[in-house]
């Protein structure tokens, strides 16, 4: 019986506690809110009245439509609310819960989903809206789709807080796309059924440093249950050194003085074997990954190796590319895109593909990652493409201090363009490149810095002062720690009631 209170909430207007810290040479501990959600809902009204929630008396109740996604979510959120990480909240051991006179109990949250949710995968156009009313035993969560219900359950779980004193991270932050940059120059850990040699010879270690088909399925299912899409990136034609080990003749041979020098460049776009390989490989990917989108990369293609290779020169002359290697890149991308389209799949590409003038399908999503993001966003949306922003959100680029604030204030719709253009910006992604990141540090480096981006992408553009939202982010960091993630401190000295314990 955890002693937990929920403020009565009628979701209709944003109310935020302002708790500005005085600038003292040694900063005082960062202030924290109690039971306020992150990211901020678009409409949020709360009263001062609280209700009591106990693990013995509370339950979630599904309406007419239910499914595995919803039932799993009930179990998960019940755990988040009443248990801390893998252990019970301290007050859970209380045998009797003191109820303040007249304080109502919240015993049921009814969750109504109005469309079928069986065997669904999250998609680019899923409906994530929800309506949450916490008002005595008339408390309801209503959503058109199960994805909205997941977001609403997350919010509900964040409203509950422990009364005593103080009071899997993407879903905690309502993020919905896991962009999995799965292979690159350095290694090819994806185990392909069609081309097993790719990981046999391209992984760091073919036994321990690979993702087997079972691993991949598990990750996709874990994400699905949380309403998260898995968009895999197989970057080409550059960043493919590791592909060459297991797929001979795929990469361009580099030449010195008209003889091969033993080095390899990007994928060789001039030979038909390249495209027959890609057809088989892409077919597998569209079968393994249920999302309608594949990320095809297309960034940072170096031309020097292509330039050195006499066969490529001949090919260029034949196609009258006029020594313009961007045209060769376009030729490759065009073929690749056609292959993907032939499987009825959509694709995401890095901005270079469009910058270099490759003709892409109109439903292509363009990921902007370079500087001058405003000009680029204006250009990409002017051309009618949907775009997602990453330029200002490279979280691997670390610096001292509260750098989340600059992530928070970066607005993807801030550029010169029409309303229609702004609407083409469908979101953004934070990126955590792995040069200096692995399992030892990826979690604290991602959270709660990534939460800043989560709120930017979910909540109203009017919320923009990072100082005002600091106490709420403090609460959110401590909430993630309580749920077992080692989210690092980002607002100077301070404390969480439940600190991170590696062993738990």
């Amino acid at each position: 019986m955890a002693l937990v209170s929920v403020p009565c909430v009628l979701l209709l207007l944003a109310g935020v506690v302002i708790n500005e810290c005085v600038a003292l040479k040694s900063t005082p501990p960062a202030a924290k809110t109690k039971g306020q959600p992150w990211p901020m809902p678009s409409v949020y009204t709360t009263t001062g009245d609280t209700m009591l929630v106990t693990s013995s008396a509370f339950k979630f109740a599904a309406g007419d439509k239910t499914c595995d996604i919803l039932q799993d979510a009930f179990d998960r959120y019940f755990g988040y609310i009443f248990y801390s990480g893998r252990r019970h909240l301290k007050s859970d051991s209380l045998r009797f819960v003191a109820r303040k006179a007249g304080q109502p109990m919240l015993t049921t949250l009814r969750v109504d989903v109005t469309t079928e949710c069986d065997r669904l995968y999250p998609s680019i156009d899923m409906d994530e809206s929800y309506d949450l009313k916490v008002l005595g035993d008339q408390s309801t969560l209503t959503a058109v789709s199960v994805w909205g219900a997941l977001r609403g359950l997350e919010t509900f779980s964040q409203l509950v807080y422990e009364d005593s004193d103080d009071q899997e991270a993407m879903a905690f932050n309502k993020m919905n796309v896991f962009h999995w940059h799965i292979v690159d120059d350095q290694s090819f850990p994806y185990q392909s059924l069609t081309y097993p040699e790719l990981s046999n010879k391209g992984a760091y270690d073919p036994y321990t440093h690979i993702y087997s088909p079972g691993d991949v399925r598990e990750i996709i299912e874990f994400a699905r249950k949380r309403g998260i899409r898995v968009v895999p990136e197989f970057d080409s034609p550059g960043h493919t050194q590791s592909w060459g080990n297991g797929q001979p003749n795929l990469l361009t041979k580099c030449y010195t003085d008209q003889t091969p020098n033993g080095k390899f460049g990007p994928i060789d776009p001039t030979v038909s074997t390249t495209y027959s390989f890609l057809k088989g490989f892409i077919r597998e990917l569209t079968e393994v990954f249920p999302d309608k989108y594949l990320h095809l990369g297309g960034d940072e293609v170096s031309f020097s190796c292509w330039k050195s290779n006499p066969n490529i020169t001949t090919f260029m002359e034949l196609h009258q590319f006029d020594k313009n290697y961007a045209k060769l890149e376009e030729y490759y991308m065009q073929n690749l895109l056609n292959i993907v389209s032939s499987y009825n799949n959509g694709y995401v590409v890095w901005q270079e593909v469009v910058d270099n003038g490759v003709k892409v399908a109109q439903d292509t999503v363009v990921q902007v990652w370079k500087g001058h993001q405003e000009a680029e966003l204006a250009k990409v949306t002017q051309a009618g493409f949907r775009s997602i922003l990453s330029s200002c959100w490279y979280l691997n680029d670390i610096s001292f201090g509260a750098d989340w604030r600059k992530y928070y204030t970066c607005d993807p719709q801030h550029f010169n363009g029409s309303l229609a253009q702004k609407n083409l910006v469908i979101g953004g992604e934070f990126c955590m490149w792995g040069e200096f990141v692995d399992g030892t540090n990826v979690i604290p480096r991602s959270w709660p810095r990534g939460s800043a981006i989560a709120e930017r992408l979910w909540s109203s553009a009017d919320l923009r002062d990072p100082h005002i939202v600091t106490p709420r982010l403090e609460e959110h960091r401590c909430r993630m720690i309580r749920r077992g993630l080692n989210a690092e401190p980002v607002n100077g000295p301070g404390v969480c009631k439940y600190e991170y314990h590696p062993g738990l």
């Binding site: 040479k25 321990t208 440093h209 490149w433 692995d438 540090n441 080692n486 401190p489 404390v495 314990h501």
Partner: protein, 536 residues
């Protein structure tokens, strides 16, 4: 789409000498490696010593026998000579529960590994621990999981006697478990001083017996303070690893949390001189209660009793008195301080600092303790006793740390260096290389001044650090400092060092510390979070 430093290929090995497996970190003084291989079975391998009954050695042997098991599936190589025993000889087996590592300890050792005999010779138990660590690092697994160890002769001793790491438990609390993990990793790097910056403005987690209210009111919460038992555990675990614990109770500045229980200790700062009244901040010049009151006798009586407790609790001969960042602005704002200065015939504020510093130094001297201070008072013109050890932490474009070091050592003080080694100041990429290339002697060519440099400390201030990230942020970046302080001055090629350091970071991962990557690549058949990691 990598904004910076895309390596663009498989792990490149074009620069630097790629160390063979089983390369030690920090680099020993003399390392005669051979390509002749031997093998051993860690499950039956024995380590014996002439120090039976000495808990430091017995615990050390246990610890290292465990660390020799690199993989549960590892086996001997039947084609090689199997060694079965390491015999330790310690010349002077001084040992006991009240015998602690100290500033003059002899940490040298000689390690000889041949098919005929494997011996570890040292003058003290502290040297023996260093030798065990090196021995454990020489063992490695081949790709087919056979244990190999090269025939080797190592004759090793540290370049500097003070090789420290400073942790801050005031800005964020660190649990005892995390601190013991830090001690573990420190011992693998042959660090020998844990500088424990226990308290500060933000909180007072130290469990004072004499003034329990300091803790009761000064700690963040009752969960965020140490118990008496915690403190003795930390000191004892450090002793077992040959690490000194030097506590810092920083005064007269950085004492906001002290004033929560004892407001009378604190100088009331005045808003705007006579006009503003006491206990009023005048930002950004000063806060409202940030600095001890130097004119009250109560302050010194209080410090006398508190420091008695500190020297009783901490066995090291040294305590750290802090003394950094004394903000004169608060004293200047207070008319009572001005009046008192007249009665003392003080005309300058450094004289107030001088007065305070001398009183505190006398208190500590009377207890038979030595002390370290941050460099600030020296820069303000304050004279301290000539046996003071001064910690250099400043240095910027205007005045380099070399200039500060030169000033302090020229005045005759011994010094330790920290300025270039603030590990909390993070940036993208391979910042360990800049730590590695800092040379403590680079401030002068005068060898007499060189002898004043006793070593250095890496510091990790805790504004943005707690148990969630401290281990991965410290390691292996602190290891770069460790090698600078242990190994010869001539060991300074980062291109060579990076491969040995990469091995070392993987060794730490295997031993249970989430040391972060420094190169693209991977750690053999184990990684952090891989279920198969055999230890921890």
């Amino acid at each position: 789409m990598k904004a910076k430093s895309c390596r663009g290929g498989p792990v490149m090995k074009s620069n630097g000498f790629v160390a063979a497996p089983g390369a030690p970190w920090p680099m020993p003084g003399h390392w005669q490696n051979s390509t002749d291989l031997m093998t051993l079975d860690p499950h039956t391998f024995d380590i014996v010593s002439n120090a039976n009954g000495c808990d430091v050695i017995e615990n050390g042997i246990l610890r290292y026998k465990r660390l020799l098991v690199l993989d549960p599936d590892g086996v001997i190589d039947p084609d090689l000579t199997t060694i079965s025993r390491l015999a330790m000889t310690i010349e002077n087996v001084t040992c006991g529960h009240d015998y602690y590592p100290h500033g003059d300890m002899d940490e040298s050792y000689t390690l000889t590994l041949s098919p005929d005999s494997c011996t570890l010779h040292s003058n003290t138990i502290w040297g023996a621990l260093k030798g065990l660590e090196t021995f454990s690092q020489l063992l490695y697994l081949t790709d087919d999981k056979k244990y190999h160890i090269n025939q080797t002769i190592i004759d090793d001793s540290p370049r500097f006697s003070h090789r420290g790491l400073m942790i801050d438990t005031a800005r964020h609390f660190l649990s005892v478990d995390v601190i013991i993990s830090i001690l573990d990793a420190m011992s693998w790097d042959k660090f020998n001083v844990l500088h424990w910056h226990v308290v500060d403005d933000q909180s007072f987690p130290y469990p004072s017996r004499t003034y329990p209210n300091l803790t009761y009111k000064g700690a963040y919460t009752p969960y965020h303070q140490y118990s008496r038992d915690n403190v003795s555990t930390i000191i004892n675990e450090a002793r077992l690893r040959g690490i000194r614990v030097i506590p810092e109770f920083d005064t007269p500045g950085h004492t906001w949390s002290w004033g929560l229980a004892y407001p009378e200790l604190i100088t009331p700062c005045w808003g705007e001189g006579d006009e503003g009244g006491p206990n009023k901040p005048n930002y950004p010049l000063h806060g409202e209660r940030e600095i001890l009151n130097p004119m009250n006798e109560f302050t010194y009586q209080f410090l006398d009793r508190l420091y008695q407790e500190i020297v009783d609790d901490f066995p090291d001969q040294f305590v750290h008195l802090g003394m950094d960042e004394v903000y004169y602005a608060c004293w200047m704002s207070n008319p009572n301080i001005s009046d008192w200065m007249k009665t003392m015939n003080f005309t300058e504020y450094y004289q107030v600092e001088q007065y305070y510093s001398q009183r505190l130094v006398d208190i500590v001297n009377n207890k038979g303790s030595y002390y370290i201070i941050w460099q600030d008072p020296i820069g303000n013109g304050v004279q301290v006793n000539e046996n003071t050890l001064v910690q250099i932490w400043k240095g910027d474009d205007e005045q380099s740390w070399q200039q500060y070091m030169s000033e302090v050592t020229s005045l005759g003080y011994d010094a330790i260096l920290s300025s270039p080694w603030y590990l909390n100041l993070i940036s993208y990429g391979e910042d360990w290389k800049t730590y590695y290339l800092e040379e403590p002697y680079s401030f002068t060519n005068d060898t007499k001044l060189w002898s004043k440099v006793k070593g250095g400390e890496a510091c990790i201030w805790a504004e943005y650090v707690d148990g969630t990230n401290i281990l991965s942020r410290l390691w292996p970046r602190a290891s770069a400092v460790a090698e600078r302080l242990w190994s010869n001055q001539t060991v300074n090629n980062v291109n060579d060092a990076q491969y040995r350091l990469d091995q070392h970071r993987c060794r730490m991962v295997r031993r249970g510390i989430p040391a972060q990557p420094i190169l693209n690549g991977y750690c053999g058949d184990y990684e952090w979070t891989h279920q198969m990691a055999p230890l921890n």
